[in-house]
Symmetry: C2
Subunit: 119 residues, 2 copies
DNA sequence: TCAGGTACTCACCTGAAAGTAAGTACTCCT
DNA sequence: AGGAGTACTTACTTTCAGGTGAGTACCTGA
């Protein structure tokens, strides 16, 4: 599982970007980190209602591998790990913004509910 | 399978947009229709090397259901069906453009191969 | 006459993604 | 003393997207 980096070959840029964002929680993690700057593991877990610890770790590791998030470990007595976006993560988030706007418009169109996430 | 429209609830706009784009070939179908304007079923199949007929039909049906593509059936002797983007499909494609640009940059960064698709 | 093209549908199968639940080692708070 | 919090790991199970291969009904060109 440590192997298998997402490395194409790809049909196009969207394909390459989707490969990195694919995963039930990845775009939400991106959003969460973008909004809060830096978050600890348990903060992310609480910010993403329904995520399992296994999936959160797995997605974070993959995103780290893909150069989207930075993982800072503090060797302290109660363990402390802080996650933040790298510059690639930040630019990916910016690239996702128009898609987010389109999605919000669509939610209005179809009258979709929103999961309330208190930030 | 005819039921189960993609209708949330969603965490955010990206979530709502991803729901509609999720699927191995959907973004490629969007791209293909955007570039050629109107395409017949078999043209799309040939334009997406590796896609199975089952998946192509399934994705096209879902995208029609989601209001992204328009399906025009000509009741002729050799069957003829033309697919094209609706205005929502066009705007989704526009919203995906920055993501595509990011992906191309990423492909350059990691040195990913590109599947050659002769248009 | 028969392969090949049109646009599909149907049934079955597989592999990967995600869920569930438990364990770890250590500390703080009550 | 015991429960909760820190950040995970590991093993097992379930779910489902996608792949495979066949069938359909009709027509055209060699």
């Amino acid at each position: 599982m440590t192997a298998s980096a997402r490395r194409g070959p790809y049909f196009c840029g969207i394909d390459a970007a989707m490969d990195v964002v694919a995963g039930k929680w990845k775009s939400l993690i991106l959003w969460e980190l973008h909004h809060h700057g830096t978050r600890r593991f348990a903060e992310l877990r609480r910010g993403l209602p329904g995520v399992s610890e296994k999936m959160l770790v797995q997605h974070l590791r993959e995103m780290e591998e893909d150069g989207l998030v930075h993982r800072e470990v503090y060797r302290e007595v109660p363990p402390k790990v802080e996650y933040s976006l790298t510059e690639h993560g930040v630019s990916l988030n910016a690239a996702l913004a128009p898609l987010g706007a389109w999605g919000i418009e669509r939610m209005g169109r179809i009258g979709a509910e929103k999961v309330s996430v208190v930030s």
